[in-house]
């Protein structure tokens, strides 16, 4: 199945697309703030300076791998172990960028590579949703990536500066924000019975479902 020429959303300019992307990612950006603060505070406790925290957030920009890395961080930093840890945890991005690459028709060569370097779970899910609704505009993707990236950079550094004043987000129920975001996105992706089958296969590993060879074919 070749990617059909999907019509652009009527009257959409680059700026409007950028704004739409930023608005779409806003809930995820707000939800991530407590965890960014926590990461910065934990990193400061391990002896990382705010500048080093900013470098890590700016260059790596992957929350869960950064949290695990800070957890195993020592003096001096074991670069090979930390690199392999990041590789293992972020290997899922390989499938995400592969899946997204089918919708990057409107992107230039540089935009494709730079866009994928800014990939994150939430950005990927929202970009896939946009592509499923119509056409994924580079400016929309830039809106997604810019807001989440700037937000992550600012709040992790803030966490490193504020340090001990930061509390565990789970104590306030903020950990459920990610579950809520992902549940909301599942509803957005819902395409009937086939989708339910995919979810059942992943959430409840049952031998009977596992034998069904076609579980991964929703609504096609």
């Amino acid at each position: 199945m070749a990617e059909p020429d999907k019509p652009a959303i009527a009257g959409s300019s680059g700026w409007a697309e950028f704004r739409a992307g930023a608005v779409a990612v806003l809930p995820a950006a707000i939800a991530v703030i407590p965890f960014a603060l926590l990461l910065g505070a934990l990193a400061a406790r391990k002896g990382l300076s705010p500048l080093e925290v900013g470098l890590m957030s700016g260059l790596v920009f992957a929350g869960s791998s950064q949290l695990v890395a800070v957890d195993i961080w020592q003096e001096p930093a074991p670069w090979l172990l930390l690199g392999l840890t990041a590789l293992t945890i972020n290997l899922r991005h390989l499938m995400m960028s592969a899946s997204l690459s089918r919708h990057l028709g409107g992107f230039g060569g540089f935009q494709r590579i730079f866009g994928m370097l800014c990939l994150a779970d939430e950005i990927w899910a929202l970009a896939e949703r946009r592509a499923a609704q119509g056409r994924l505009h580079p400016a929309y993707y830039a809106g997604l990536a810019f807001l989440l990236y700037a937000n992550w950079l600012i709040w992790t550094v803030a966490g490193a500066i504020v340090g001990p004043a930061v509390q565990d987000p789970a104590a306030w129920g903020f950990d459920f924000a990610f579950t809520a975001i992902f549940l909301g996105l599942i509803v957005a992706f819902w395409r009937g019975r086939g989708t339910a089958l995919v979810m059942a296969r992943l959430a409840v590993p049952s031998p009977r479902l596992a034998r069904r060879r076609c579980w991964a074919v929703p609504g096609t």
């Binding site: 590789l87 899922r92 960028s97 690459s101 590579i113 992902f182 509803v187 995919v198 929703p218």
Partner: protein, 100 residues
């Protein structure tokens, strides 16, 4: 405020590893041919990954989180994402305190 060389090396190793996973997907399909079957599998990927991400945390969370998830799902069928997240977090906090 300074940058320790060992810390910088570790940050760069993490960055290069992560960049590889992010850009690698662009080249994956130049090597692997896309059949209609694998195309269909990729179409199912968003829901598959999202489910795999939330299922363990829901299982760990217990009955309160499960009820909050149902409330969130109901809200998601008719509201945009931001109110859904607010409703989800508020219901999780309430239910965790109300349910043992």
């Amino acid at each position: 405020m300074s940058v320790d060389p060992a810390n910088l090396a570790a940050i760069l190793a993490m960055a290069v590893a992560t960049w590889f996973t992010r850009v690698g997907g662009l080249w994956l399909f130049r090597v692997v041919r896309l059949t209609p079957r694998s195309q269909a599998a990729l179409d199912a990927l968003p829901v598959a990954v999202l489910t795999a991400v939330i299922a363990p945390s829901l299982a760990r969370g217990g009955a309160a989180d499960l009820c909050a998830a149902i409330v969130t799902l109901l809200a998601a069928t008719r509201l945009p994402l931001l109110p859904v997240v607010v409703i989800g977090v508020v219901s999780a906090v309430l239910l965790r305190n109300l349910m043992p």
